[in-house]
């Protein structure tokens, strides 16, 4: 009987593999999200694209290696000029294509009109000011990224807003989450939130003090998404979520992720409270019931995730 069941599993898995279209990781795939918004998946972080009668707005530009293919994919969605690029963090897999995509677009500012050096007609690159600081580096040092990739329009408050294609776009800054420069973009008419790496479906969250991140900030960001998102009747449909990596999601999937991070954090906190060392906490495997879902997909390994929480909580107690 058990052998028969094993055969059944193998046969069903083979059938599933044949039935499911799995795109290669480096291939770009365009998926409609809802309203005016599309997601371009594959090869780096997800790119969100808003189209309409005026222009194209892009959230994140993947890696430099696929910038031309990203532009070609955007061009299949709209022939309107790329006017704004919104950057969710300074990560190279979200900003690598900034320079190429920006130069493929156009945006004339009032300032440019009066600039005797001539207008910079590239698309604007919008980000929290911390992203500019990380991409340009400290004064007097060699910049880690080319100047053409840097944000041209920055904000330093907790939010900012644009109105493009008859749609309000709210930019929400979450301090110290995945990094210290995270921005989420909320397309209000389309009812889509592009979250950057505060939320992914492909692994545990990545946060570290070197980039200004923290588990508290990750949870703050996830709870902020849940406050913005509104589900449809019977918890079906409603606000759509474009994660930093992975599949199109909704409120329930963000709640699942928020619950996981909260529960693992609480378990680590309890073990710290019991006087356990990092090695003892890791040996207790406080994320073991979630590892089958979130481990091995390119994000932090379970021990790495647990260590990051441990470090944050110990630091907070000081």
């Amino acid at each position: 009987m058990r052998r028969a069941r094993t055969r059944l599993v193998l046969a069903l898995n083979a059938a599933l593999a044949a039935a499911t279209s799995v795109a290669a990781e480096d291939e770009l795939e365009v998926l409609p999200v809802q309203g005016n918004v599309y997601m371009i998946a594959g090869a780096g972080g997800n790119t969100t694209v808003q189209i309409g009668p005026e222009a194209v707005v892009v959230v994140d530009t993947k890696t430099a290696a696929v910038a031309d293919r990203l532009i070609a994919a955007i061009r299949k969605l709209s022939s309107k000029p790329i006017r704004h690029i919104i950057v969710t963090s300074a990560d190279p897999d979200h900003t690598g294509g900034n320079e190429r995509v920006s130069s493929a677009g156009t945006y004339v500012r009032l300032l440019d009109t009066f600039d005797p050096r001539g207008a910079n007609k590239n698309a604007s690159i919008i980000a929290h000011v911390k992203v500019l600081e990380r991409m340009s580096g400290p004064s007097g040092t060699k910049a880690p990224t080319p100047a053409g990739a840097w944000p041209s329009d920055t904000y330093f408050t907790n939010d900012w807003a644009l109105f493009v294609n008859d749609e309000a776009i709210e930019l929400v800054h979450i301090p110290a989450a995945h990094t210290d420069g995270d921005t989420m973009a909320f397309f209000r008419r389309s009812d889509v939130i592009s979250t950057g790496d505060i939320f992914t479906t492909t692994g545990y969250p990545r946060f570290d003090p070197e980039h200004g991140g923290s588990v508290t900030g990750i949870l703050d960001g996830l709870n902020r998404i849940l406050e913005i998102a509104i589900p449809g009747e019977n918890q079906t449909g409603g606000t759509a979520i474009v994660p930093g990596h992975g599949r199109i999601s909704d409120e329930t999937e963000v709640a699942n992720y928020r619950d996981m991070v909260t529960i693992v954090r609480d378990r680590v906190a309890a073990l710290i409270g019991a006087g356990k060392t990092l090695e003892q906490v890791q040996a207790a495997r406080p994320s073991s019931d979630y590892d089958g879902i979130y481990a091995g997909l390119g994000g932090p390994a379970p021990d790495e995730f647990v260590a990051a929480i441990y470090r944050d909580l110990k630091e907070a107690k000081r």
Partner: protein, 255 residues
Amino acid sequence: MWSQRFHEELPERGAGPEIGDYAGLPVNDAARLRADSWDAAKWTIPERQCEPHPADYAPRGPANLRIGSTVDPISQDVVSWDVTVMWSLTHRAIYMDSRPHPSQYAQHSWQGFSTGEWDGDMLKVTTTHLKEAWVRRNGLPRSDRATVVEYWIRNEDYLTLVTIVIDPVYLTEPLVRTSDWVLDPGVQLSPFSCIPAIEIERPRGAVPHHLPGMNTFLTEYATRHGLPQSAARGGAATMYPDYVPELRREIEALR
């Protein structure tokens, strides 16, 4: 229209399962830890209040059915069998036109994406792209990586559904269950509308759960029914007849 019959596993499906009852299910340690941590207060959180049952559990709940079809207007071929379940009025389309399942980047849903094919007189349905949900309403999870295979079998006025859940994350073997209906042209599906509300003031981001080793309710089920705690923990071995003599020995040892 089909009227549900509840005779199989009634206690679990009616009032609901007891906390800590994992018996007879092929769950692994990860599933046990999820369920041990589960707190029924979860359902008071606004994001959880209106969750419908997923495709693989909906037939277990209050589940009178309406089954219709969408037909190609030219060829008259069945494009999809359309199933509506009473609880939460969930709708499923079972596509019969050989369309591929969506990509890995497509959204998952409560009902997933289903394709069907005839296997003799049985309709075989394969479902992917399911949201994470449950195999038992006491916190035993079913992951979003699961595949569900179903066989819809009609014998005159009786309909039997065989549901096979294959979950590489939380199950060590396929979970096979059956549900039954009787043809009933007069049955009606009640309206079902749920909108969440704040029921309890809680700190922002509060998630009800039990820390490992702190859930004092877990032993109640086995104690109440005179079972060894090991039987309540479930696992594939507890599904098979071979387990009965061992269970008898353990019960005798308890006396």
